[in-house]
Amino acid sequence: MFEDVNVGDELPELVKHPDNRQLVMYAGASQDFVAIHYDLNVAKEAGHPNVIIHGALKSAWLGELVTGWIGPEGRLLELDVSYRAIDFPGDTATCVGKVIDARIEDGVGLVEIEIGLRNPEGAISTPGRALVSLPTHSAT
């Protein structure tokens, strides 16, 4: 419920262990066949030590972080994701989130969340934000 949320609350972390198989599955499911995501030679020519994770797959994980937290009664209204740095399969990717605003507008409980994907070095490679609505006690 909206009333249970406070600014500063952290979302439970969502930990992903991507491998090459998942990148190939995602390429097929999303029809994103840019070769840098599955062809090691192409990735090395571009100066990377390994194939790189699709940015959109990282945004899918950040979407899962948020929709899992709000549950089936909440609604995702906005999802913004920026791919600032590259991530690689074989590395652990940790999705994190923190509530930065909670307000009621026109009777709707809105919660704004700062989200990001944390790489094994502890840096946020993929920052973003989400806006969700949650049911309120007064609406029930």
Partner: protein, 167 residues
Amino acid sequence: MTTSVSSDDTVISEELRSFIDLESNAVTYEIERHAVERFTCAIGDPNPLYTNKDFAESSSYGGLIAPPTFFRSLLPGDYPRPYPEPFAHILDGGSKYRYNEPVRVGDQITIVRKITDLFEKHGRMGTMLFKISEISYTNQEGRLVATQTTTTITYGTGEKDSGVGDH
């Protein structure tokens, strides 16, 4: 064709600029249950709203829905004339989604993409072209269910990446 670019030159030709606000050919997809299952399996999201019919029907959604980034699997149509991409390599800069209502299994979603801005930056990879595109998703009732604003960066010469131009 574009030739080599010096720093006081621009890759944004009049022809390229003419693509700003030009709408892609509309394409309509049926949101098919097994495509949603395949996508959710690929991203590794166990949320039963996407795959468990009984759970979804008894939820506040009343039926199966697609995950928020499922739109990535619905490729926009071509522009009415070929887009003159000057570079060979592509980077996805990010996406901004706005959701008005969920996409349901069985929906017919019509997609139109248009470029809203083109600009270039000069960095360690040489000239990079930034393309901001807005993609609209409209359902069979004519309601705009969502938009996705994408930033696509292209750079470099040589053999074109497979997939350049798709996203």
